[in-house]
């Protein structure tokens, strides 16, 4: 018989290295005389899209388009260290470093422009749509490229180096007090599954995943990360088991360590909530790891809802489910 069930899973997750470890990211920035800018950072884009995020952050701050920004990343010869692409930290931590660096280069540009436009303060200058000019006075503005070009001929350069450190404290083991992480990411997911009571096989029919991302700097990437996380969560819940024997991995191959294929994934509805993180770049915070966590609990709860079997070790293999069903039957017979 095939039985269906629905389950819910929630998660909160501390992003960054945490526990008092100094979490530092850094960036170099230059604004060029062709109206483009370069960002150099050690942060490695492994496909999650951090380079796009950094380009967007710089573009937003400079009133440019993200294709005007050239991001060089992950080159130990040329880029400043920004820690690992881990701990769900690049958008938040390196994003903050990039924003600080862009703002620093921008502030010397604004000072220069204020002088050129005979504006008493740089606060009266704005960068918008590739132009630099006096706020509220469209007659006094020029292309950003022209301003930087003129400045260049006078020996001015708009370059900066900045770093951003996320601070946390270790937790006191006696009192449990401390601030081990900042910020926290929150997520909630629901899964619908179908359990075959004869074979113990579980099919995930649908997952709805909602995550608080602070601010979705790139909604397409957010959706992609959620769907990727959910699929890894399905693998974690149902398939993936690292078998260790005397410290050695028994199944170090994709033929023996199974991960989900296109046929194992259900329709995934990826949604996000934007509750601005005031310490993040434009309100953003990380999403990477948290996207897979609630999936596991949601699926395990959905299995329970479907057939009343409580799985307490991962993955929920057909064997474990059949055993649970058999125990339940025995319990009833007694």
């Amino acid at each position: 018989m095939k039985k269906r069930g629905i389950g819910l899973g929630c998660s909160w997750y501390g992003t960054g290295y945490g526990n008092g470890f100094p979490d530092v990211s850094s960036a170099f920035v230059e604004i060029h005389d062709d109206g483009s800018a370069t960002v150099l950072t050690g942060a490695v884009d492994v496909g999650q899209g951090s380079n796009s995020i950094f380009a967007q952050i710089a573009a937003e701050e400079l009133g440019l388009e993200s294709q005007d920004i050239c991001v060089y990343s992950g080159d130990t010869d040329a880029t400043p260290d920004s820690g690992t692409t881990a701990a769900t930290r690049q958008t938040y931590n390196t994003g903050n470093a990039v924003l600080k660096a862009v703002r620093q280069a921008k502030s010397s540009l604004l000072d220069y422009a204020a002088h050129e436009f005979s504006c008493p303060t740089s606060e009266g200058i704005e960068l918008k749509e590739g132009f630099i000019g006096v706020k509220g006075d469209p007659s006094r503005r020029m292309p950003l490229a022209d301003m930087v070009f003129q400045a260049r001929l006078k020996g001015e350069r708009f370059i900066s180096a900045e770093s951003s450190t996320a601070r946390s404290t270790p937790v006191d083991p006696e009192t449990g007090q401390g601030a081990p992480y900042w910020p926290y990411a929150f997520g909630c997911q629901m899964a619908e599954v179908e359990v075959n009571t004869e074979t113990g096989m579980v099919r995930v029919l649908k997952v709805v995943a909602v995550h608080d991302v602070g601010k979705a700097l790139n909604p397409t990437q957010v959706e992609g990360q959620i769907a990727g996380g959910v699929t890894q969560g399905i693998g974690f819940a149902l398939l993936e088991e690292l078998e260790l024997k005397e410290g050695k991995i028994n199944n170090p191959a994709l033929s023996s360590y199974l991960i989900p294929t296109a046929l194992d994934v259900p329709s995934i509805e990826a949604l996000f909530v934007e509750d601005a993180e005031c310490t993040g770049p434009f309100g953003a915070k990380g999403l990477g790891e948290p996207a897979m966590l609630p999936t596991v609990a949601a699926i395990i709860n959905a299995i329970d809802d479907a057939v009343g079997v409580r799985i307490t070790s991962l993955p929920a293999t057909p064997e474990k489910i059949l055993q649970g069903l058999a125990e339940k039957r025995e319990g009833l017979e007694k």
Binding site: G49, G224, A253, L254, S255, A262, V265
Partner: protein, 155 residues
């Protein structure tokens, strides 16, 4: 060494290959076609997919010598930046690429499906793509991209 003749991306080649040399090595090392990726090297992941005589194959499981006389399409033969194949265009449009390691294989599997079946159902798409593993995207956007490319081809 064995002499083989084959056509890759519409160009004829004559190559001297080792008896134990795999097709993926001939493509990457002898022809410099680095778009074909090696993920697992054991026929599980599909990153090394190429189209050989109208069928997708894992080029890590095919000996170069077995490809003698065959016609092969690798990702370099499927459109480029200026004029991308409709599958590639759809991948970019929906954001179906994250790390990109699976992408060449995915694109070839999708292209070969659409070449044979211009109106695939969701299920047929799923089956055609199930030999290509992706660890990043959760397949969601990939399957959607194939659907979009299929619809575009219908017009």
């Amino acid at each position: 060494m064995i002499e083989i003749k084959l056509v890759v991306n519409d160009k004829p080649y004559t190559l001297e290959v080792e008896p134990s040399e795999r097709l993926i090595d001939a493509l990457r090392n002898r022809l410099g076609l680095l778009g074909t990726k090696e993920g697992c090297g054991e026929g599980e992941c599909g990153a090394c997919t190429v189209i050989m005589d109208g069928k997708t194959v894992n080029s890590c499981l095919v000996l170069a010598a077995q490809a003698n006389g065959s016609v092969i399409t690798s990702i370099e033969g499927v459109g480029n930046r200026r004029s991308p194949h409709r599958v590639q265009k759809a991948f970019v449009e929906v954001g179906a690429v994250q790390c990109g390691f699976c992408t060449p294989g995915m694109v070839l599997s999708a292209k070969n499906l659409l070449d044979k079946n211009s109106k695939p159902s969701n299920e047929e798409i799923g089956i055609a793509m199930s030999g290509n593993l992706c660890r990043c995207t959760g397949y969601d956007k990939i399957l959607r991209a194939v659907k979009i490319a299929a619809e575009e081809g219908k017009e």
